[in-house]
Every structure is written in structure tokens, then in C-alpha cells.
């Protein structure tokens, strides 16, 4: 499948009751690309990622992951939902990291990381633990192997959450404001892990308010507002020299907050 984008959405729409949250999002992310999504609160950024992870199942439009339709099958020109293995094969291409970590409090750091390996992939425990230890080393937390989430700092919890997602060997990683719940001094360690991942060639969609990270690590930036992509392009262009008035307004507000 050469030339396929890693992620493609076509006219993606999502509504909650009467509220239209995504109103036709068309997006391409090249393999190995890092796309940062910025935009005001309530613009639909989380919902976009949740659709890509199939946590929101009831969207219209199409999502292609590496050229394969997510959660739908085309029959006689119409899209029908699919379940089971056909869904799982495509859905397993994505890993997701959340703003509030969502670690499982009754499992240790290692336990969190290997859970899905053991339960979903049926990897033997010893093998799974070896993978887990490797990932813990990669996020710099080998010494926290047996600690429970409540004993870890926010930054450490978020790094465990990243390792947990990586354990399933996703092709695409989704990050939803993963540093927003952290104390300022802990943001750096998480961004560092994400930067490494980007350098290793992982395809990433990153919703963030960290404009420095976006300008240094992203190769594309998308500005969303009210369920639509208002502007997209290279970071230098969107962040430094936006063409749309709404982007300018948003960026000036963010800049004021950061002072």
C-alpha cells in the first residue's frame, strides 16, 4: 500500500443529539508524520481523536487507517458498521493516551503495560513481562516497575500510559492534551518521550496547547474551530504566519496566556 496516508478522514461528522461536534473533517496524515491539532476548547479535537480510536462509534463519513476503513464495510455503495475481528484488525492500528492518564489503579506500572498483551494478544506472561520491562526502560521508569499508579507522579503516570499504549505495537499514536493535567515542571519529561517517539518515525496525532512542541516536533499543524478545520499547513506557516483571522485570534489569546 505505497502512498497510502496513515490516517485519512473523509467528511467526518459526529453529533451528540442536536449538537454537531464535527462538521465534515477532511484530514490526511502521512506515514511517520506528526500532526498537531490546536484549537479552542470545545472545538471537537478530543472527539476527532475518539472517533479515530473508535471510542465514538456512531460517526458519519469515513475513516481510513493505512487505507483500511475503520468500523465500516462498503456494501453496494453504502457503509455498514462492522464488529468483531474485522473491526479489531483496523482499530488495533491505533494507540491512545489521555489527558487524565486513565491508568488502572489496581495494577502496577508493569501490570498496566502488559494487561492487554496477556488478555488480548495472549502473549505468555514471561514474554509479556520482558516486553514491559523494555518499555519501562524506554520511558525511563525501570525502577517504578512494581509501583502502583497512586505512588507515581503525574509525569510518571503519563509515561506509563504511553508505554501501555506502545505495548500493543500501534501504527498510529493519538495524544489528547496529555500534558494539560500535569504540573508545569513535569511537562518536559512527557514531551521528551513523545519527541523520541516522533524521531523513531511513529505516526502521531497530537492535540496540544504546547506551541513550542508543535513548532519543533510537528511537521503539520491543524487549527480547528467549531468542528471544522479552519487552517492547516507547516508549523512555521500556521503558528507564525496564519492566513485566517480566527487562527490569528486564537494564537494571540494563547500567547497572552503563556506570558
Amino acid at each position: 500500500m505505497t502512498g497510502e496516508p496513515a490516517v485519512r478522514t473523509v467528511d467526518l461528522c459526529k453529533r451528540f443529539g442536536d449538537l454537531e461536534v464535527l462538521r465534515g473533517v477532511n484530514l490526511d496524515v502521512e506515514p511517520g508524520g506528526v500532526l498537531c491539532v490546536i484549537g479552542p476548547s470545545g472545538s471537537g479535537k478530543s472527539t476527532l481523536l475518539r472517533c479515530l480510536a473508535y471510542l465514538e462509534e456512531d460517526f458519519t463519513g469515513r475513516i481510513y487507517l493505512e487505507g483500511e476503513l475503520l468500523g465500516r464495510v462498503e456494501r453496494n455503495g453504502a457503509l455498514e458498521p462492522v464488529q468483531g475481528e474485522a473491526l479489531r484488525r483496523v482499530q488495533s492500528k491505533v494507540g491512545m493516551v489521555f489527558q487524565n492518564f486513565n491508568l488502572w489503579p489496581h495494577k502496577s506500572a508493569l501490570g498496566n503495560i502488559i494487561e492487554a498483551l496477556v488478555v488480548v494478544k495472549k502473549v505468555p506472561l514471561e514474554e509479556a513481562e520482558a516486553v514491559g520491562d523494555e518499555l519501562l526502560a524506554r520511558v525511563g521508569l525501570s525502577d517504578k516497575r512494581n509501583d502502583y499508579p497512586s505512588r507515581l507522579s503525574g509525569g510518571q503516570q503519563q509515561r506509563v500510559a504511553i508505554a501501555r499504549a506502545l505495548a500493543m505495537r500501534p501504527r498510529i499514536m493519538l495524544f489528547d492534551e496529555v500534558t494539560s493535567a500535569l504540573d508545569p515542571e513535569l511537562v518536559g519529561e512527557v514531551l521528551h518521550v513523545m519527541k523520541q517517539l516522533a524521531e523513531e518515525g511513529m505516526t502521531m496525532l497530537v492535540v496540544t496547547h504546547e506551541m513550542t512542541f508543535a513548532s519543533r516536533v510537528a511537521n503539520r499543524v491543524v487549527f480547528m474551530d467549531q468542528g471544522l478545520i479552519v487552517e492547516q499547513g507547516a508549523p512555521a506557516q500556521v503558528l507564525k504566519n496564519p492566513s485566517q483571522a480566527r487562527t490569528k485570534e486564537f494564537l494571540s489569546q494563547v500567547a497572552h496566556e503563556e506570558i
Binding site: Q91, V94, M96, F98, N100, N102, P105, A116, V120, R164
Partner: protein, 223 residues
């Protein structure tokens, strides 16, 4: 009031207390077991996205909560066998009724316990590929049981008390066994007084345990 207490009769019939207590405990533990299984199924069904399931489970709970237990006991013993052609002994008919009755309350406890767990917990599980039931079993229930345990133990204390209703079907649990010897000995004061004490000795540790658990988990969560 002058009454000539004579507790010899109690000692003489201690075997009856013993056998009655065994039947009472058998009813209570069997009912607890079946009520928990049924309650878990109904509780999960109420929480499920499948509307038919959740509506059916809601009605199950509603019907059971809005009819008297005693009526359920006699209906299941006298009417159900005629309607479905299954014969149950009085003992098993009663265990069945108590299990069904309490499953409605346990379902509520289990539903509330499940609902208390943050949705992010299952979101994370779902993206990693765990099925609904894997997430329930390995992620949600192990966290929710702390909230469910104290009220479940309280319900168990109630089950032991209500097991005395089996006497209306002629099951020789504690109450009915003692009624039976009172007919021969005419010593209700001694026999009923000791009966109450025996019930207390069985139920108190359970109720006490429930209270301890409540305090234990309340402290754990307030931290």
C-alpha cells in the same frame, strides 16, 4: 409477672436448634450464591448499551421490588409449578424465591458500583482491544467491588433474617423447627427467647462485619 422459667427444655431440644440452624444457614448461603450470580447478570444487563437487555432488566427489578416477598414465596411455591410443570421441594422453591428477590437488590448495588468507575478506565481498555466483558471482569469489577461489598454483606444479614419465612412453606429451618416443639412442650417463652438469641448470634457478626467494611473503605476513599 411471675413465671417459672425452665431452660431444661431448651437443653433437651438443643439438637433441634442445631439442625434448624444448619437449614437456616444452608438457605442463606445458597441464596447468597445464586442471588449474586443473578444480580451480577441483571446488574450488567441494566448497564448495557443493548436497549432490550437494559429495559428487560429494569422491569425485572421493578416487579420484584414492588411485590411483597411473602406473596412471591407462595406464588412461586403454589403457582409456578402449575404454570411451568416443574416440581420443586419447599426448600428449593424457597431458595429460588429468595435468590430472585435479592438479586434485584444486588443488581442495584452492582449497577451503582459499576457506574461509580470513571469512564476513562474502560475507554483505555477498549482502545487496547479488551472486549466489554474482559474490561468488566479485569478492570471495572475489581475496582467496583470495594463499593459493593459493604451493602452486599448487609443484604446477606437481611437474607438470614428473611430465611425464617421458609416456615410458611413448612421448611424445617430454625423458626419452624422451634414452632414444632412448642406444640408439644408448651414452653414458648424459653424456646422463643433462645431462638431470638440464636438468630442474634448468627446475624450480629455479619452485620458487624458490614459496618467494619464500610468504615474501612470509607477511610480508604477519603484519602
Amino acid at each position: 409477672m411471675i413465671y417459672d422459667w425452665n431452660f431444661n427444655v431448651v437443653w433437651e431440644y438443643r439438637g433441634v436448634y442445631w439442625n434448624g440452624a444448619q437449614t437456616t444457614l444452608a438457605i442463606s448461603f445458597l441464596s447468597l450464591f445464586f442471588a449474586m450470580i443473578l444480580g451480577l447478570i441483571i446488574g450488567i444487563a441494566r448497564q448495557s448499551n443493548i436497549r432490550v437487555l437494559s429495559i428487560a432488566a429494569s422491569w425485572y427489578v421493578e416487579i420484584i421490588r414492588d411485590t411483597p416477598l411473602l406473596v412471591q414465596i407462595v406464588w412461586i411455591f403454589y403457582c409456578l409449578p402449575i404454570l411451568v410443570g416443574i416440581d420443586m421441594t419447599a426448600f428449593w422453591s424457597f431458595v429460588f424465591t429468595i435468590s430472585v428477590h435479592f438479586s434485584a437488590y444486588m443488581a442495584e448495588i452492582i449497577r451503582a458500583g459499576i457506574a461509580s468507575i470513571d469512564k476513562g478506565q474502560t475507554d483505555a481498555a477498549k482502545v487496547l482491544g479488551l472486549t466489554y466483558f474482559q474490561a468488566m471482569k479485569r478492570i471495572v469489577l475489581p475496582q467496583a467491588y470495594r463499593r459493593m461489598l459493604p451493602p452486599l454483606v448487609n443484604n446477606f444479614a437481611d437474607m438470614i433474617k428473611l430465611s425464617s419465612l421458609a416456615s410458611v412453606l413448612g421448611v424445617y429451618e430454625l423458626l419452624h423447627s422451634i414452632d414444632n416443639i412448642i406444640m408439644n412442650t408448651f414452653r414458648p417463652l424459653e424456646l422463643y427467647t433462645v431462638l431470638a438469641i440464636v438468630y442474634f448470634l448468627i446475624i450480629f457478626p455479619v452485620a458487624f462485619g458490614a459496618r467494619r467494611l464500610e468504615i474501612h473503605y470509607a477511610q480508604k476513599f477519603s484519602r
